[in-house]
Symmetry: C2
Subunit: 345 residues, 2 copies
DNA sequence: GTGAAAGCGCTAACAG
DNA sequence: CTGTTAGCGCTTTCAC
């Protein structure tokens, strides 16, 4: 990359407008306390020179960056192709933009990247971090902790040890699952199966808990482990049909696995919902509305979660990691879910 | 957001190691020209204090940022849910990471955001920009031009006026389309229709051109405008069936619209590929492999495109916008496509 | 090879 | 209200 063209400095603008650098600085930062003849002279000079403040210099003294990092761990490659993140990112982006704050996306693909991320966060680039902690054993939270940057987590973090406090935003996974299964029971279904998500993620674990809340004494063979993918859903569904051919309903941990399950059910000649009722989770429109039949599912407002994360961080509810040990106890915001009825259950 | 915890400075490390700031700086930046007793003393001090260089201060003097902006315009909301971007981003991210460079994602949702992006790019945050110019009339390229930052475009930019030169990476959209249609012809199909993409994007226009290359004298009613979405594909397919019930093949501008077309064909009792052969574009696995029947399609290596964009920028082939007017002529890299045969054609 | 000193572009007291 | 003066934390000549 070649050098960037030299840009005019405050000094240059000051000279051109015939004022001091301080005055230009004031005008550029809102113009408070500068009288009229000057303010427009300065504005004119800024315009003519195409002056844009150098953020590095500004941050050096203000210690503000007007930027927030979004950290996404991507151990499996599938993660980013998931519309889930796209939606959450959009929510975040919108909220940040409204606050004139930049979004810096940090993707990590493995442990090698952790150090880089830690350096970045500690190196004075951002005012805070939004972190998606995907897996229970993820070392990332610890690193971010060390960087001493205010942080909000997306989804309930996995470390239940209480050693850290954490601000996070999550959906009511357990409650949503409960509602789905209760709905199936209300439909008169008795042999209700569950296809789990990747159980090293809290969302999957919480949905399984919700299933168990309602089906306390369920046949353990009615629970098959999936991984949030259509392929995983297919695998799990085949397993279930083999183990319990008499099942009459399936609650899948997300819409993607539900779509896989639907495919297998069709393959086996089971009618949905007549023979087997199916409920998903997420209400990911491009999936849930396009399946055959359209999917009954538990909706979570993913974009709103993103927006909320950003809002919490910006409002200063972001947890200063350095103090985390002191406070103890987590401060989570849990968003409600709603059951969306379509044709599959 | 609360203040970030105070971090140790070079000064502190120097004091602790009993050397000057200059020496610490040298060690931190590779340790060239510092003798052994000192270098390890400094390393130790760095370690103990948890020192991380302040990038703002560093950039202020070096004028390097070790960061690259990725600018994505998102006029329609659908854009980001598209796996296309996810893949391209991953390619970019991987390449940048390999060069110890940060990825800063800038999402723009409308003209209001343009100024913000311009300021960001000009404000000294990044060494260059990767820009996805989605629409022909997008004002973004101009703005980025003004920021005077090296830039590589994703996809051939729409301004064909030759006023700007531009470095870009694109797929061989026209050639790929040609290959698809030629394949259909080879299959003995004679009434071949085309569902276009959003024609204000060069990729859609180029694919249409490729279609015409082979079907020079095609019945104009065999061309229906789509918009790269499944819904658009459905609409276009209905239109085509109404206008030309005798069609025996469809080339859709992407897999998503092909999936919509398949749905409509099934609805109308047309067998694929027996009655109507269908070919898509992209080879977006989650779509192309899951359709019924699996989709024959033109593959482009999207992730590689992203990687290549980053590589070009990093290698200094990035176009210094300030000089763009001088050079004239565009420097584009066009990646080959390959036809992937599945069941639909 | 190492340290001293200057200065990157900006903001924030502090005078006037 | 406006200008003057110090730095923010770092790299980089330039002497030693």
């Amino acid at each position: 990359m070649r050098e960037t063209a030299p840009r005019p400095t405050l000094e240059a603008v000051a000279a051109r407008a015939g004022v001091s650098r301080a005055t230009v600085s004031r005008v550029v930062n809102g113009g408070e306390g500068v009288r009229e003849p000057l303010v427009s002279r300065v504005r004119k000079a800024v315009e003519e020179l195409g002056y844009v403040p150098n953020q590095a210099a500004r941050s050096l003294v203000t210690r503000r960056y007007d930027a927030v990092a979004v950290v996404i761990a991507e151990p499996e490659t599938r993660v980013f192709a998931d519309p889930f993140f796209a939606l959450q990112l959009r929510g975040i982006s919108r909220e940040l933009t409204a606050h004139d704050t930049q979004l810096v996306l940090l993707l990590t693909e493995g442990r090698e990247d952790h150090a880089r991320v830690g350096r970045y966060l500690a190196g004075g680039h951002v005012d805070g971090a939004l972190v998606f902690s995907l897996h229970l054993d993820d070392p990332l939270p610890g690193l971010i902790h060390g960087a001493g940057v205010p942080t909000v987590f997306g989804g309930r973090p996995g470390w239940a040890d209480g050693a850290h406090s954490a601000v996070y935003v999550d959906s009511d996974n357990r409650g949503g699952a409960r509602e789905a299964v209760t709905h199936l029971v209300g439909l008169g279904r008795r042999r209700i199966a569950h296809i789990t998500g990747a159980l090293d993620q809290t969302s999957a674990a919480d949905r399984l808990d919700g299933f168990r809340d309602v089906m306390a004494d369920a046949d353990p063979r009615l629970i098959a482990e999936g991984d949030f993918t259509p392929a995983g859903g297919e695998r799990a569904m085949r397993q279930l049909l083999r183990r319990c051919p008499d099942l009459d309903a399936v609650f899948a941990a997300n819409d993607l696995s539900a779509s896989g399950a639907l495919r297998v059910l069709r393959e086996h000649g089971r009618r949905v919902p007549e023979d087997v009722a199916v409920i998903g989770f997420d209400d990911m429109l491009p999936v849930a509305e396009q399946t055959d039949p359209p999917l009954t599912t538990v909706r979570q407002d993913i974009e709103e979660m993103g927006r909320l994360m950003a809002r919490l961080l910006l409002r200063g509810r972001g947890d200063r990691a350095a103090e985390a040990g002191v406070a103890g106890g987590s401060a989570g915001v849990v968003l409600p879910t709603t059951l969306v009825r379509r044709a599959s259950a």
